[in-house]
Symmetry: C2
Subunit: 412 residues, 2 copies
């Protein structure tokens, strides 16, 4: 990490509660490591007019005014709409212009709801440094046409830059309040960044899907190496950028496992909510989590056999820890629990309690079911299938124990 | 499992809430499988005089009377003292006499507090069938003189019979109420039971500790094979004996992993309570569980390298699921949480809220600390050590994140 003459410049694309929290963490670290990073962290904000409540603690400055969210963030150093009451370091700069946010960035951190990623990448493509590197904090995976695509892969394909993933047991308001937690960064340094002087065409090609069992043909992406005057982008640099005393970072090379864990756990959290809603208690929730881990492991082993490591699911924050916190307290868990308690469908809870917002878990459950059906593997993932069937109304929560296995038939 | 001319007879040694629950499960299954098992399940009860409250639902029969607990259990088919309001099958027979309980049993199930195991084995030794087989449901391990001994090993040594282990996310009242859960049975069929006709002296020897790294010399036990007229004692028979629609059983050969999981999780549950008491939320609890799993895995790998399988900790009910339920709701968790909330020591909580009863987790934390110290391995188990130090008052809960790791020092 020595010998560089330039510094990295970081941009955060997205400014919800998790995006703002990650911007806060990064800005704390760029402040502490001026040798490696430009201090300023630019954060792209989808701008909107907001009215500052009279009761705001910023009342004396802004109370009762109608202002642009970006202006307010830059003036009071707080995302008053999406992360209220949390002070952001003053080196976080909100920027309403996507292109200006990313144009000089050597490190791009994507942290926005997955439904906006396509349009956002359209706005960025062609306007970034060709040797930038990226981290995706976007939960979920894209499942369509019998293929699972990670958001990191989507970013690589669309922008032509290498992208890793960050995920873990990271309920945003707790992290923002600097309560202790851990996260996992999946980043497999691309070959051209390991031999910095070799920029032959061959060395710069990366086959995104060569290890995928479920994609018709691998996608080739030509990457530009990170220039030697910039600090090497690897585990150490990423740890320096993301780790805080209250936010422990573990690095793994398994990007797919990190992304899959963050997606599949939402299906399992629904099942945990179902049994909690029945009042079945802690044993039952723990059983659901255990069976869930097994299906995550099997999913990875079946469709990502060369890239996924089982221990990402069983031993990393992006795996079992994220699963545990989601199955104990996440939004999918709570909504499923309420649905069963009130004797209504999860759909009704989405309409009633979430203003029609869709839960991540329900769409993932349907997507994964469709994928498993196309792959002819429904029988091998009884928990994922049971959650889908309960959502569909073709199975009942009471059936869950029998559906997820239990005793084999014993011949006397 | 065919060709047998005799049936197994089961005795349960112990009758607390977990012992009575296991007796209930077993009696349900001996009822359903009269081809394999004698219907009657004898349960040893440490007898005591009890007074039936006037308000008891058994009032018309027994209210206000002073009676022997065993008599009451056999009359009303309920352990009114330790598992009230749960109907026991009428083929559970409470027996105050230890020797009479075990004398005809071909299958012994030990389920009593660990502090009573030594004296109980004294009362049994020499009074059982030499070819009986046993399952230990006793949580914890015995740590002394720099050695870790499993209760199953203690039973093998003292009684000269093979013993496996049963453990899982099994909070007793929930299981007794037939709420769904899972458990793990560790049972490694001894060689002499696999080749039933070979009863040479050599084939019947079992070296209990040949795979142990921390015991001075292995203990040899001479076992008597299960006679061929009895059904073979293996995974299928044990599943038939323990599995219920609400109690799923998974069999593994790794007895040590099953026993260690049930012991070590109590240390981790204290840590989970500490961070919960601070109000650090779900992310922090999940982080503690994750680090806890890693230390369980390392403990098994270090001292039981040939017998323990890592996936017992990461994928079985006796591992991660038991850990999760204990870290969410177990007694060690709750007491540690109360201690931190009230700003007092765990010891004070033991005295105040548990009538001076000792928590399993505190004694295990001290035992394991002493063991690690003797083995010169304190530095490799930072979470176990931190819990000990917090109990001792030499570390604070606030130190926990730094103590269990986090960021390595980065050279700029």
């Amino acid at each position: 990490m020595t010998g560089h003459t330039r510094k990295h410049k970081v941009a955060v694309v997205g400014s919800g509660n998790w995006g703002s929290t990650i911007a806060k963490i990064i800005a704390e670290n760029t402040n502490e490591h001026p040798d490696l990073f430009d201090k300023e962290v630019r954060m792209w904000v989808f701008d909107e007019d907001i009215e500052i409540p009279e009761s705001s603690k910023h009342h004396s400055k802004l109370g009762g005014q109608k202002r642009k969210l970006t202006e307010v963030i830059n003036q009071v150093h707080e995302n008053v709409k999406y992360l209220p009451d949390i002070a952001l370091p003053d080196n976080v700069m909100a920027d309403p212009d996507l292109k200006s946010t990313v144009k000089d960035a050597t490190l791009l951190v994507f942290n926005l709801p997955h439904q906006f990623i396509g349009k956002t990448l359209d706005g960025i493509a062609g306007h970034i440094l060709p040797y930038a590197r990226a981290i995706s904090c976007i939960k979920g995976v894209d499942v369509s046409d019998g293929t699972v695509t990670l958001h990191s892969e989507l970013i690589m394909e669309r922008l032509g830059i290498y992208c890793g993933a960050l995920s873990g047991a990271n309920i945003a308001p707790e992290v923002a309040a600097e309560k202790f937690c851990e996260t996992t960064i999946g980043y497999d340094v691309p070959p051209m960044d390991l031999k910095q002087q070799d920029d032959s065409a061959e060395a710069n090609l990366i086959k995104i899907d060569e290890q995928r069992q479920c994609k018709a043909k691998p996608t080739h992406v030509r990457l530009t190496p990170v220039p030697p005057e910039l600090p090497h982008v690897g585990a150490e640099l990423l740890e320096t950028l993301f780790a805080r005393p209250y936010f422990h970072v573990h690095h793994v090379r398994d990007v797919a496992g990190v992304a899959l864990g963050g997606a599949l756990k939402n299906i399992i959290a629904l099942a945990s909510g179902f049994v909690a809603g029945k009042g079945w208690g802690e044993n039952a929730k723990a059983a659901i989590m255990r069976v869930g881990v097994l299906e995550m492991v099997k999913f990875g082993r079946t469709w990502f056999p060369k890239s996924v490591e089982e221990r990402t699911f069983t031993e990393e924050s992006a795996g079992m820890a994220d699963l545990v916190s989601s199955c104990n307290a996440g939004r999918n868990y709570r909504s499923a629990c309420h649905a069963v308690e009130q004797g209504v469908s999860v759909k009704e809870i989405e309409e009633k309690e979430l203003n029609g917002q869709k839960l991540q878990g329900t769409s993932t459950a349907y997507d994964i079911y469709e994928f498993l059906e196309k792959q002819g593997k429904l029988k091998e993932f009884p928990l994922f299938v049971a959650v889908h069937d309960i959502l569909e109304g073709t199975a009942k929560v009471e059936d869950l124990p029998a559906l997820i296995g239990g005793r084999k038939k014993i011949e006397g």
